[in-house]
């Protein structure tokens, strides 16, 4: 019965009922070899908390807990939610040549990052396609801190290790370390207020995309980065494994904090206009097609010294065949893979992400359309179950973001 949007295996939590007793429609969502799924250090904790576990990128992750998807989503926007995002890859890059190393793989101006400043960047390939999106932070502790997607873990690690070996072979000084820390995301308007009660650093001095190491609720050596994937103010906290459950429990003592899972994570990021690698961006999309031109460093564009620059840079001034756009509609929700149609009914693209927006009570979506049809305000249509439904090309984010910037 579950179709578009549900590509995961559903395993009912501690109540112990096995799903998949149903027939064909259910089976697609209820297939999982639980023994072969990776688990974060908080796995047992999630189950104890009533988390409904699903397979995401080969990890057993909570999709939701006691709160419904809607409740969890809205709670994040009104108070704050705590997510386990330890499935993502955390890499530390050491060595004198770490910036040169990083710049050989990504499109951004990494050398210009101030101490403890981070940025969203992209690994690209020689064809100009996006291999992954990631956050690179220039820590003041002699390393770069890189967080990249769970679904690209093996690929990214092979890419980085391969390049590091190449550099070392020519006398470069760079080496990598994977961090086994738990990674938590605390997101929402009250996230930082909650966190402040447990840290002595003044978080008002930690603006969006900056990072610092500090004790959090008595747990020393936590890296706190002011970033996230919800559009809200908030932080990601990288915490040593041994004390992660303790920290989570301390955070949960605050009644404003609720656990949230992957369901809310996805609807929140979509409202915020943030891409999901594998859906909205992949190896066939260039940063220009994906409307991520801002990630291309100014210096890097001129030097054309990143993978795929020969393809990507000309696209900035020139035309692209397709562009990622935001769509908004009413009526039946827009879902991935639905065709996007011109006003005349001609297929001109495809939806890559979509869901009913809990905040807007309208349908929001992202997709690629022919370049000429991509201007904000264009009225297009989406084919939903064989019917054509009007959709408006709209600016993103759909819901205003509330990043904490110092002005």
């Amino acid at each position: 019965m579950l179709r578009a949007g549900c590509r995961v295996a559903v395993r009912v939590g501690p109540r112990g009922q096995e799903p998949g007793a149903g027939g064909r429609r259910w089976r697609r969502c209820c297939s999982s070899g639980p023994d072969s799924l990776k688990q974060t250090p908080l796995h047992a904790f999630h189950r104890q908390q009533g988390g409904r576990m699903v397979n995401f990128a080969g990890w057993s992750m909570p999709v939701q807990y006691a709160l419904s998807h809607l409740e969890s989503h809205l709670h994040t926007r009104q108070h704050c939610s705590l997510f386990d995002v330890s499935h993502m890859l955390q890499t530390k890059v050491f060595g004198r040549d770490r910036v040169k190393f990083m710049e050989s793989l990504v499109v951004g101006d990494i050398a210009e990052l101030k101490p403890d400043q981070g940025t969203l960047s992209l690994f690209t390939n020689e064809e100009g396609g996006i291999l992954d999106d990631l956050i690179v932070t220039n820590t003041s502790k002699q390393h770069l801190y890189v967080v990249s997607n769970a679904g690209c873990r093996e690929k990214d690690w092979a890419l980085m290790q391969g390049r590091a070996e190449e550099l070392r072979a020519t006398g470069g000084d760079v080496h990598l370390e994977v961090s086994e820390n738990v990674l938590l995301a605390l997101q929402g308007p009250s996230a930082v207020q909650v966190l402040q009660t447990g840290v002595s650093d003044d978080l008002a001095k930690l603006p969006f995309m900056s990072s610092a190491v500090m004790g959090v609720f008595g747990v020393p050596g936590c890296r706190v980065t002011r970033c996230g994937y919800t559009g809200e103010d908030g932080v990601e906290i990288s915490v040593p494994v041994g004390r992660a459950v303790e920290l989570v429990e301390l955070l949960l003592r605050d009644p404003q904090v609720q656990l949230a899972g992957l369901a809310a994570r996805d609807s929140l990021r979509l409202e915020a206009g943030l891409c999901l690698y594998g859906n909205d961006i992949d190896e066939t999309t260039t940063p220009v097609e994906a409307a991520l031109v801002w990630t291309l460093g100014k210096r890097r564009r001129e030097a054309m010294d990143f993978p795929g620059a020969q393809v990507i840079v000309p696209q900035i001034k020139g035309k692209v065949k397709r562009k990622r756009v935001g769509l908004i509609s009413t009526g039946p929700p827009i879902r991935p893979h639905m065709p996007i149609l011109s006003p005349e009914g001609r297929p001109i693209g495809e939806v890559t992400s979509g869901c009913p927006s809990p905040c807007l009570k309208k349908n929001v979506a992202m997709g690629y359309v022919a370049g000429e049809q991509s201007r904000v305000g264009t009225v297009l249509a989406v084919e939903v179950r064989k019917k054509s439904c009007p959709a408006l090309v709209t600016r993103m984010p759909f819901v205003p973001t509330r990043y904490y910037t110092l002005k």
Partner: protein, 174 residues
């Protein structure tokens, strides 16, 4: 009301593994469709049976009731969109007649019988979340009348969503 009680009792005997109390059907259901005298078809009266699509159907005195299982409703999550057919729509068995959607997932609804839609519940268009709530305790339900035709009788089908009943059985031919 007798019909309602009868359905309830049928449910008990047929779904012994169903946890919890049975479905109690709401009073005040439009009983507008008078049960005509139908043939001797076994379809006149059969206890709840489940399809392989997690819908169930139960027929009582010519009135058929269709719902989705508790497992389905839970797995789908908060329903935010509900589309039902227009009155007069003629449906064949297995035809897609509508959809329920949560934030995360969409599910088409398939007609378990052949027939014609005679009434739909308009409140669900504005209030699709009612589908998730216990239909009977607070009297909210998805309701549409669907006049089904089989080889020898007219059957009305009402669409109802259960808060219990998640047992999958194979459906007898209807």
């Amino acid at each position: 009301m007798a019909a309602l009680r009868a359905l309830r009792s049928l449910g008990v005997s047929l779904a012994p593994r169903c946890p919890g109390p049975l479905i109690s059907l709401r009073t005040g259901w439009p009983q507008a469709a008078s049960a005509r005298s139908l043939g001797t078809s076994a379809l006149l009266s059969s206890a709840r049976k489940f399809t392989d699509k997690h819908e169930w159907i139960s027929v009582e005195n010519g009135i058929g009731t269709v719902g989705i299982s508790n497992f389905a409703q839970e797995a789908l999550g908060d329903i935010v969109y509900c589309s039902l057919p227009e009155i007069g729509t003629k449906l064949n068995k297995q035809d897609e007649f509508g959809a329920l959607e949560s934030v995360k997932a969409a599910s088409e609804l398939y007609s378990p019988l052949t027939g014609e839609v005679t009434e739909i519940n308009a409140t669900l268009a504005d209030n699709p979340g009612l589908v998730n709530k216990s239909c009977y305790e607070d009297g909210k339900e998805l309701l549409f009348h669907f006049q089904g035709v089989n080889s020898n009788s007219m059957i009305k089908i009402q669409m109802v969503f259960l808060s219990q009943a998640d047992l999958l059985l194979s459906i007898s031919p209807v």
